[in-house]
Symmetry: D2
Amino acid sequence: MKKIGIVGGTGYTGVELLRLLATHPDVEVTVITSRSEAGTPVADMYPNLRGHIDIAFIEPNAELLGACDLVFFATPNGTAMKLVPELLEAGVKVIDLAADFRIKEISVWEQWYGMEHACPNLVAEAVYGLPEINCDAIKGARLVANPGCYPTAATLGFLPLLEANAIETDGLVADCKSGVSGAGRGANAAMLMGEVGESFKAYGVLGHRHLPEIRQNLSEIASEPVGLTFVPHLLPMIRGIHATLYAEAVGETDLQQLFEQRYADEPFVDVLPAGAHPETRSVRGVNHCRIAVHQPQDGDMIVVLSVIDNLVKGAAGQAVQNMNLMLGLDEAAGLNSVALLP
Amino acid sequence: MKKIGIVGGTGYTGVELLRLLATHPDVEVTVITSRSEAGTPVADMYPNLRGHIDIAFIEPNAELLGACDLVFFATPNGTAMKLVPELLEAGVKVIDLAADFRIKEISVWEQWYGMEHACPNLVAEAVYGLPEINCDAIKGARLVANPGCYPTAATLGFLPLLEANAIETDGLVADCKSGVSGAGRGANAAMLMGEVGESFKAYGVLGHRHLPEIRQNLSEIASEPVGLTFVPHLLPMIRGIHATLYAEAVGETDLQQLFEQRYADEPFVDVLPAGAHPETRSVRGVNHCRIAVHQPQDGDMIVVLSVIDNLVKGAAGQAVQNMNLMLGLDEAAGLNSVALLP
Amino acid sequence: MKKIGIVGGTGYTGVELLRLLATHPDVEVTVITSRSEAGTPVADMYPNLRGHIDIAFIEPNAELLGACDLVFFATPNGTAMKLVPELLEAGVKVIDLAADFRIKEISVWEQWYGMEHACPNLVAEAVYGLPEINCDAIKGARLVANPGCYPTAATLGFLPLLEANAIETDGLVADCKSGVSGAGRGANAAMLMGEVGESFKAYGVLGHRHLPEIRQNLSEIASEPVGLTFVPHLLPMIRGIHATLYAEAVGETDLQQLFEQRYADEPFVDVLPAGAHPETRSVRGVNHCRIAVHQPQDGDMIVVLSVIDNLVKGAAGQAVQNMNLMLGLDEAAGLNSVALLP
Amino acid sequence: MKKIGIVGGTGYTGVELLRLLATHPDVEVTVITSRSEAGTPVADMYPNLRGHIDIAFIEPNAELLGACDLVFFATPNGTAMKLVPELLEAGVKVIDLAADFRIKEISVWEQWYGMEHACPNLVAEAVYGLPEINCDAIKGARLVANPGCYPTAATLGFLPLLEANAIETDGLVADCKSGVSGAGRGANAAMLMGEVGESFKAYGVLGHRHLPEIRQNLSEIASEPVGLTFVPHLLPMIRGIHATLYAEAVGETDLQQLFEQRYADEPFVDVLPAGAHPETRSVRGVNHCRIAVHQPQDGDMIVVLSVIDNLVKGAAGQAVQNMNLMLGLDEAAGLNSVALLP
């Protein structure tokens, strides 16, 4: 059994990692740290883990983390970059679920995240952990930047179109909707059920941190800068992201075939039959991205519908998928459960 | 007190009409018909009306309806067109909340609604009941076609931009999201809470009946055919529509000023301050459309956010607004309550 | 127009007061205070009030409050008791929506609320503002203690039974369920939608502050101490309380008649027909309590179902009802809207 | 691999059985029947099963079902009793998830279910499938009556108290709350999200079919008739049952110890620490019942809080647990996943 550490495991990403790792056949969580909850048994905080996880949160401890095969950072932005160098030197592999290593251009990162980067040299080394693009690089990586939730849903939706030059690279629209768990478990009046239940709104129209990440992904795939408008919205539900993607067609393409072929060998991308509309609940709790592609009314506009569970393929599940690749395990190990429907 | 009749009042549109009319200062509901519920007191079906409405549903009755000043049709598509001619001849004014008189081009209507139109000549006479465009015509109308919910939200959002020639008329995108009450109160397994709760999906991407209606509105405003992609989505909540509208800017426009000036005299359109994101709950139960306009990142794309309550400004409330205009009452009579928040 | 002040109007109780008072025919809100939001226009915080309320929050100001006819305290427990004496001396009538004046026995209050009472003498004078019991006293009161939400629902349900000696006074059970708005608008991780959505739980089984209040009410009505078990639960919805009340029958009573007669003249208590089950949505946004009484299987157990909107009859609406009585207005003024259903 | 058949797998119980069996290590679903959906691939109906289950629904087929080791009936009440005799004769073991074999007294069953029983002799043979009571009998059974959802939650909560004679057997109250999935997937206007979302109500106060089942269970445990009032309520959420149970204490008992000892060896009953309040989400998707026991204010009333997922421990999960026992597998095989939280 490989030994796994988690730094900062009290949030939703942390508990989701624990849920997935608790039944993983090849690994074992040996260390989980939290300054605020040190001493608390994990299962006291998250009763769903009673009977599955017996350990308690401890203070961050370099020695214990250094004895792990791989460490996940489920910390706020800006934390991992301070601790990762030491772990890498100790020979530990690292996956950061926050944004510290996602953006290659340091100045862009510093502008959007409002702080100085602590280890810009590692940003160049870090592999962006979207296995559908970077599978081989992830297998050999010491440090993986786990993608954001919106970027995962949007990138997987645009990917086949951009690779095939089937769309204009300007005027792209990503109209994305997320459940509230994406905002985390911090005490925030704006995320009270009394505030966000039975209501719907856009937010961050003038700028959201996932915009440069999506743009970086799409531009790399297209090998040229893309023009993208990204509007996130908040759904009155807990889990799930739905990306509705718009792009202008170039030429005529068999879109269904394009998508099916591109993802034929990907265990976690499921292209639905022509005419389908994926529901977020069809991926609740699982690591799949389900996608449908449409060209309404034989017009020029292509519409892609892409759904993921923001806490799984959008965070902890994708991190486990990356872990599997980095540790030489089966890519799907521990990720074979069935979505909870209804 | 003006005498008001309602044909087909058992659905959500019907009960919403009753809610609004029950406290209206100048009118009185004297007749409400339903074949299936004839004999049932209205308040037995809708306990929120206990103490407010004392009448019972009756079988459709031409004589009693003919004695009304105005009759609302809250019936399925295809019903009003059979009964309206007789009422108009009897001197009764009519508002149809279904789609029978919304589409001017009969062949388009027949294609999307799958039936032959029973009185195409009245379609030409009918006034499309969006007061922000057709106020004067509504005041003089015998027959008003009350707009659909999505068309109301989308049209009010694009209206100032199209009137000012501030956007390209091709490549428009209307990414719209609706609460489940828009699907009505019929027994439909697809709308069970177990099916639509805690989930989100698009539907009708390849074609939805509100597409030709929105396109007709926008083309009339633009005085030329517009290119529009319309994708409706289903929200896991009961009331509210959020339209996220995308269009490419032409030239430079002070968008905030444009919207504020266009709607300065409209009692039911509220332009939010620059940078705002309207929430659907801010219009829950009321007849307002709240709108914000953005131009993210100084790019070419303009994003309009437009919210309404699909049962009020998107149906019964707008019908009451139209009634007020047709009967010479104050446009806002009976529509001055405050949205229920939280 | 009577002049009304509100102290501490930023929470859900405050915005609900504003919603109700904005359309009240006989009063006008002239002052609203908030230390944290002083200077902010009320409608910036609560967009549903745009166009209805033009004033801004100000710092607490004794002079301006002293010029009001009546002042509502929508403050945390322990605040009103410090400020009320001064206002009463200035001739202002006061309604406290918190708990400072609800419990007659000072030591009980101090034990449950964990602080010393600042003006115990006023507790004796304060009238408990449940109009269905204390209507005349409220009309003459300077100071009214507005009841808690659970106590309102539970007391109105047990009231006819206890007055008629139709039940044992021991072994009473009040199994109560509340929407999340009852917990207020403070930043509290436990009330995030991610925590309370799609889940249900009891809380405070070993003791909740509304227990002594309910017990005081029932014991006064019964003229003897009652034995009561009270278990509150948290519903995954925003508004509404449902009290399910259990008591052992004494003798044979026509329960339906008992309830109908007791509440025949009460404008805000609606006894449903025999066999009915009130839904919380039937009172959403309105000041009614709807009640049904059952005696299942001809057994000894009587079951009462009582629903209110916790923010209306359970807080702001009942406060307005009390205000109407205290100011000599019609008891139902400003409270005649219809519940929002669906 | 044992061969498993499912009769009537299109409802929520059916899809939940498929979800659990899809990853079960020791069994394989070889036949699934549905008259209405014959020919439809299972994964077309339930997209969460894409990639997990490749078979299609077929018409009921005695031969294919007869070749199974065990067959589940996920059919409406009254269906299994007609088909079970033939299967038993063919040597197939059977678990009925409906109510046909739950009630021992035929006349009581016929009264509550409104039909004549087709094989009363098999009712006597059938074992009531609550493993925490009948584990050994289940291991040897040919035919198991899988318990109802409310009866499971309520019986497990009262069980230790009744076995230890720690409560009065009269005046028991079971105030139970269920998510909407308990009502199934049939087209029923009363279960639309527009009807049951954001609202809460009791139902069936005068009589619910689970009442005789709970009463039978409790009376058997107590070895005497018990007096029970059972009130079910409908929660605005999808999965989960919360039973709040009230009973009068007899003598003094260490309740925490009593519950912990009774369930020490049960893999699917989790007694929470003293003072805890179980949340339904802590068992979402898993086969556990989590229980807390309280004696508020040192009074006579004992309050038990018991939560299950109505589709798992309340239906399909308990059925799999019973299957494991009947087929000589590990009781927990296929049931070791972690609840989905949040």
